[in-house]
Amino acid sequence: MTPQRIGRTISYLVLILIGLAGIAPFLYLLLLSFKSRLDILDVPPPLHFDWSTIKANYGQVIHDDHYFTFVKNSIVITGISTLIALVLGVPAGYAFSRLRFRGSDTWASTILSFRFMPPVAVAIPIYLMIRYLGLLDGYLGLILPYVAFSLPLVVWIMIGFFDEIPREIDEAAMVDGLTRPLVLLRVLLPLARPGMLVAATFGVIFVWNEFLVGLYVINSQDHYTIPIAASSLLTVESPIDWDVAAAVGIFTVVPILIFSIIVQRYIVRGITAGAVR
């Protein structure tokens, strides 16, 4: 073997190890969700599967615990709040990137600083505001704060992406006959699509996993999002069923996994486009 091939083999081995380390928790989770309560504490878990156990676990999650409702809630809330954050954040990012107005630099960094605030610091004021607006225990009561949390990141990611696009393209489009808003809509949005997907991904992951504000705002089971529903498995009365919890885990992970697979090629392209070019 030539030194080159040895080097390549070693680097592949390392990569495979890293990959395994990354995927192991998911596989373990999947495995656990297929086991009965009694088998769950065996280490390593036995590799024989029983279709009836699988059916029982998932059946309980889907039928008794109404998990599809929670998945639906999460998808609706995540989708709408990310969409609103994009609709507001993309033009804002464009404005900060292109226009000079009074305090534009100050405002851009102020907006970013909002993001430094952990949700827990503002959870109670948010709860009070939502209650005052009469939006407790509904989609809108969660969507509004989630938009507020996602927006700074969307704005900042978009500023970066718009900065990468030469200003002359805007100018050419204006000379060609477009107003600023139309320049954004017809010329720049197609160019900034990777940036929008990156921003959307960060927003989606944050909102999907958000727990604390959801816990304060949502009371009725009908409106639970997945993280809140998952936490309700643990109650004072009953010890936790790890097999069911694992099935819930799978429900939490799969939608976001599908989303990531769809957008990942854009994200990789987007991140490199933003950083290297």
């Binding site: 002359e168 100018e171 204006m174 000379v175 060609d176 006959g177 477009l178 107003t179």
Partner: protein, 419 residues
């Protein structure tokens, strides 16, 4: 097509930097006007103000006799070619060229006809379905041109459109742009820092320096009768040789004395430069273009008062001519304007110039015939074509005897005020 006129146009940026002052100029219908100058001279700012991409701080710009100061770029009906082309990367060549027409709601069959015609004029017919990333630099440049010509606008604005191309392609595109402009009879303002482009392409050339218009003239006029030291040293390659000389009376005429050597100024030149006589007894800047210097051995019978002697420092054989770098015993002209031009080329040139000035020696360049036996290290006698000498006031830096021309400071301000 239409006229474009600037009257008293000025630009001050928000941070207080002044980019352009009191810029007044009329571009005629169908004229090819070139704005030329070193970087930071305000030429691009002036162009962008016509396009509406830069606010106009002072004065007025008119397109087709309509004041456009407050108009959005899209309402000015102009087309612009950018330095980096600014093609829309996600659109095909066809869509890039068609875009402005589509925005203006031109009927589809009309768009198709015009885009295909533009493609044909520019030799892009085979490329229409490709995207900009798949094109070479020259092809992208053509697409940018296509985007402009398809519109049939009031005026074309071009901001250094050839500066991203390599030298050979630049020469070719230079001719092509000039041809297309001529074919369409389009009013064009073309910005460049390359004085060769300015000379070869423009009907007229406007030379700018530090936001101020120095001279507007036909290229040959700018070359033959530069308004001041700045224009003289900026236009021409190799640049004009500038040495200090003492103007003296000799009999009825005038002579220039350079150290121990004397050059006679022909009487018709003295007549053609009113005011030159008044400089007798003073030190002036003497300008000699390289082609006015010839190896005396090749020039036949040359009277001594048309000769200069010097020592050859180096020679460059160019095939068609021989560039001889000859050291004269005379101080070079060192003024602010000359410095600026050199600085724009390379800072080290300023240092060279200053050390020459200290030694009171100047290396001048002569374009010798190919038969010249000039060798480095030898002394050479040069014939000077004294009919085309240039004279400059060293104080005001203006050319002497350019009455009635819009130029830099007046060489004889008091005389003007009396009249």
């Amino acid at each position: 097509m239409a006229t474009v006129s600037f009257s008293g146009v000025g630009k001050v940026y928000r941070d207080g930097t002044r980019a352009l002052s009191d810029f007044t100029l009329d571009v005629a219908d169908g004229e090819f006007m070139v704005f030329v100058g070193p970087s930071g001279c305000g030429k691009t700012t002036a162009l962008r103000m016509v396009a509406g991409l830069e606010d106009i701080t002072e004065g007025e710009i008119r397109i087709a006799d309509k004041v456009v100061n407050g108009l959005h770029p899209r309402r000015r009906d102009i087309a612009m070619v950018f330095q980096n082309y600014a093609l829309y990367p996600h659109m095909t060549v066809y869509k890039n060229i068609a875009f402005a027409l589509k925005v203006r709601k031109t009927p589809p069959e009309e768009i198709k006809r015009r885009v295909e015609e533009a493609g044909r004029i520019l030799g892009l017919s085979a490329e229409l379905k490709r995207k900009p990333a798949q094109l070479s630099g020259g092809q992208r440049q053509r697409v940018a041109m296509g985007r402009a010509i398809v519109r049939n606008p009031q005026a074309f604005l071009m901001d250094e459109p050839l500066s991203n191309l390599d030298a050979k392609l630049r020469v070719q595109m230079r001719a092509e742009i000039a041809r297309i402009q001529h074919e369409l009879g389009a009013t064009t303002i073309y910005v460049t820092h390359d004085q060769v482009e300015a000379m070869t392409m423009g009907d007229r050339v406007a030379v700018l320096r530090k936001g101020q218009l120095q001279q507007v003239d036909a290229p040959q006029q700018v070359y033959d009768r530069p308004a001041n030291l700045f224009v003289a040293s900026f236009i021409g390659s190799p640049e004009m040789n500038l040495v200090e000389a003492h103007l003296e009376r000799a009999g009825d005429g005038l002579v220039c004395r350079l150290a121990g050597q004397v050059l006679a100024v022909p009487p018709e030149l003295v007549r053609a430069r009113p005011g030159l006589d008044g400089y007798a007894g003073k030190t002036i800047g003497l300008g000699i273009r390289p082609e006015q210097l010839e190896d005396a051995a090749l020039a036949g019978d040359v009277p001594p008062e048309n000769r200069l002697r010097g020592k050859i420092v180096t020679t460059e054989l160019l095939g068609s001519e021989l560039l001889a770098h000859v050291e004269l015993e005379a101080a070079p002209v060192v003024t602010q304007e000359v410095r600026e031009v050199l600085e724009d080329v390379d800072r080290s040139r300023v240092v060279d110039l200053e050390s020459e000035a200290q030694a009171r020696r100047t290396v001048v360049i002569g374009r010798f015939g190919i038969g010249s036996g000039a060798r480095a290290g030898e002394d050479v006698e040069m014939r000077v074509d004294t009919r085309r000498l240039h004279f400059f006031d060293l104080e005001s830096e203006a050319a002497i005897g350019r009455d009635g021309m819009r130029s830099g400071p007046d060489p004889l301000p008091t005389a003007r005020l009396d009249g």
